[in-house]
Symmetry: C2
Subunit: 359 residues, 2 copies
């Protein structure tokens, strides 16, 4: 028996979630019903000013401290909606005013954290996370709905200006300390020790992997270094108020869902032409590069990016040039849809740079 369970093998393209769940204590036994409510949650991504944004709502309710934003969410009502995805689209439309285009399911989470329930009751909710991609449209958003830069929630994921200082200054020292402490008694057997997980996910033993967003969030959660962990009753020993917040927290397990969405998007970019769901009809190659870079959180080599895109057959000239600020006008391209029929796995098989912009 090799003993390789769960989270070790999951990343980067198929994230593990269960690892956190296993540490939460059982709910106080009460009623006997097996019925469960299904929460649908959407991480809706759009590009605004070359930065990836996600749609957030501020649900009404008792405003304890400063309210953390939430993803658009709602309950699945099977009698009203034939399928989960139709229900999701309907909820999002009603809650935000937005019509979703591309939608894909991410993961189904079994527990949202005991202390974070909507009404404080003990009703069980299973939440299904979705990723949606949309172009920023002129659709007016409902009140309380807005866009939120995803790197505000994950500042350690943006390497476009070199390694984020928060990693060396805040995260690495405290995670190293956490990893050097022994596991508390009663912890389920893990396939990897704390230190190994830290080294893998934060690029200490392997190069930093842009796709391991979820793994990193889970480590931070377990170490009690994100606000959600304290809120969920983990890391009671931590003097939470004394610590600087690592990224902006969100309601429920929504930051975990966002981490899942970022992992999926970053991973899938490399073998599916998802990116064009975020692009306007026509664009220049450098427009495209900036969007890819913003999603991946790192800079790419310009000349090689051009060639990659061109001889992967991903785009075709749309005719005409774009007059841009400074510099020679660029040719305008559009997505070449036929690539789907011609190539087995069309995408941006790029090498990331993880240093400040290369020459």
């Amino acid at each position: 028996m090799t003993g390789l369970h769960n989270s070790v093998l999951q990343e980067p393209r198929e994230p593990s979630i269960a690892s956190i769940d296993l540490d939460i204590e059982a709910p106080s036994a009460a009623a006997n019903a097996v019925a469960v409510e299904i929460g649908l949650n959407a991480a809706i991504v759009s590009m605004i000013a070359d930065e990836p944004q996600i749609l957030t709502v501020c649900p009404a309710g008792p405003r304890t401290v400063k309210q953390a934003p939430a993803l658009p969410f709602g309950l699945f009502t099977p009698l009203k909606h034939r399928t989960l995805e139709i229900g999701l689209r309907d909820w999002v439309k009603g809650q935000t005013g937005l019509d979703l285009g591309y939608v894909e399911q991410l993961y189904t989470f079994g527990d949202r954290g005991r202390h974070a329930r909507l009404g404080g009751d003990s009703l069980h909710v299973v939440s299904i996370g979705y990723l949606a991609l949309t172009r920023t449209e002129d659709t007016p958003l409902a009140a309380g709905v807005g866009w939120s830069d995803w790197y505000e929630h994950f500042p350690w994921e943006d390497w476009r200006d070199g390694k984020p200082p928060i990693l060396s200054q805040e995260i690495e020292p405290r995670l190293t300390e956490w990893a050097s402490r022994p596991e508390p008694p009663g912890t389920p057997r893990r396939p990897l020790a704390r230190m190994d997980r830290l080294r893998m996910s934060f690029g200490l033993s392997v190069p930093w992997d842009d796709e391991r967003v979820l793994e990193r969030y889970e480590v931070l959660y377990e170490a009690g270094l994100v606000a959600e962990a304290a809120r969920d009753g983990r890391s009671a020993a931590q003097d939470w108020a004394a610590l600087p917040a690592l990224g902006r927290p969100m309601m429920f397990d929504h930051r975990r869902i966002l981490a899942t969405a970022m992992s999926r998007l970053r991973g899938k970019l490399k073998y599916r032409p998802l990116i064009f769901e975020l692009m306007p009809e026509t664009f220049t190659l450098f427009d495209l590069q900036r969007v890819v870079e913003a999603i991946l959180g790192s800079y790419l080599h310009k000349q090689n990016f051009r060639r990659l895109v061109e001889n992967a057959g991903l785009v075709e000239p749309a005719g005409g040039v774009a007059a841009r600020t400074g510099g020679r006008p660029a040719r305008v391209y559009r997505f070449r849809r036929n690539v789907l029929l011609e190539r087995p796995a069309p995408g941006f098989r790029v090498k990331v740079h993880n240093v400040a912009r290369p020459a």
Copy 2:
């Protein structure tokens, strides 16, 4: 607006499911409850005699015609089980006697097909599919539980002896006919035409892709060529009894879950060392190759496979040799667990052959 939604972009590593759902008519409106039952379903894979097998159960109930096998399944009871995965493990243990090792979530399905409900009632069930890998152990299985060769359910997926005849003889002609017919009225807009989907998934315009198991099953389902489609009330126009069965059907949507599991396993093999969950503690390189080949459904080049495995750092000599039938005794290896800490994406980046065994 490029109009690229859903299923086009999903394969091969992140399968789309929603496409089928969209075609099923709404359930007869009845009660008003929003509570939904959560079904947990496990595709449990093991190798027996170098063939991949899945665990099936024959649930008790009215035996109309010959009963199709089911995956082990059960309802999630949140008051008894803290997490979805714990619930799954418990159900499987009770139903089959098996202790699961490696488990990962696949997908959450919103509708199991109206005509295929357990008691015939209209209760809504959301089913969550899981993939589990296990070594065949001496654990005695409960009554009615057994192993089933997965290529019996998907005979067109095994290319180890060249292209399966069922493709040229049965599937391609009928799918071509289906693709040439116009979409029925009322069909939701699809990003790709029938013919394009057929060409992509069945290797007519791109090389056959071993990972697109689910895409292929979905096309067959929509074309009404698998028994489940007729059972679910699709393809009423087909004279079903006159057609030879394309693969052994399963209960509910379990063959769809199995297809998802096969897609995931075949895809993930290439960048995660999942395979070793199916291997004994020690093995020869050829043992390993045969298991990989059985999962992928195609032969690999022997010499290159050896080198790939060795200098990917996936294995290390365990000492000793295996006395085997015919031929020189082979060195015995074991999984090298440290590879997880050293390589970003350790796996079998093999090129499949899709012809009879290469020299």
